[in-house]
Amino acid sequence: MIGVGKLKQYTNVLDKPLSKGKQEVSLSAFAFLFSELVQYNQTQVDNISELERRLEDAGYAVGARVLELLCHREKGNRRETRLLGILSFVHSTVWKVLFGKVADSLEKGTEHEDEYMISEKEPLVNRFISIPKDMGTFNCGAFVAGIVRGVLDNAGFPAVVTAHFVPVEGQQRPRTTILIKFAEEVLQREARLG
């Protein structure tokens, strides 16, 4: 066969396939950058919910870009249109590219039909972060929540996404749960599609 065992030569740069990209970055470099992001935003706000919102907004921009990239790179320019499809896309594909592993769990909320939860025992962003007692329930996972909202929103699944600490029995450290509450129109559309 022609071209077997030989790297294909592309004369035009536009014909080259999109590269896989570098899969790993230094955890320390990321931790310091993220720490600076939090510290900078802290100087810009007066209260904790405002800080949470700003982190979420920063994540939203990441999510929007990641969706675009991954649809092209991993999905052959196709995008999920069903609720469960997009959720498992976030839980596995997005998580794997951003954090090097799939998320620990994806569950449906027990109380409400429109709620889903992605849980992570020790999210990458929280690896080195201890929240001071006076900040209450603040969670830097708000950044990750923003990423999830960015992906979902741009894929046509508007949702409210929040990050929470959930204590685990027999564990010293609580886990972080990303709570996704979809907009009504999304569920109506899902019901129509059957």
Binding site: L37, I129, S130
Partner: protein, 143 residues
Amino acid sequence: MAGAAIYSLFIINKSGGLIFYKDYGSAGRMDTNDSLRLASLWHSMHAISQQLSPTVGCSGVELLEADTFDLHCFQSLTGTKFFVVCEPGTQRMEGLLKFIYELYADYVLKNPFYEMEMPIRCELFDLNLLQAVQKDRVALLSR
């Protein structure tokens, strides 16, 4: 062997202020004022020892041996000092100090809510430190 090999751990910032103190043994417990005083005392002694030392480019006292305790000191490049007071003759304290320095670099310096040169109040640092010291204790007991 009575109790733990490590009596206490101190971390002092580059100007001699105590930013972390932890007691491990039951003997020789100190109140806050005493620990602060001892920390800045050690800081000054360390600085003086550098000046008095006959060797050129001396980086200060690394080990102080007394009748009832040993004091191991490790100074990072930025001037933060870590020191443990332990039972006389306890081995491998340099390794433990280096490891504590690593924990400090990870769980204190990468924490956005920590202010430089201020007292350390980080849950994750406490947690990992406790584990490290316990592991050290187990290793000592199983000798």
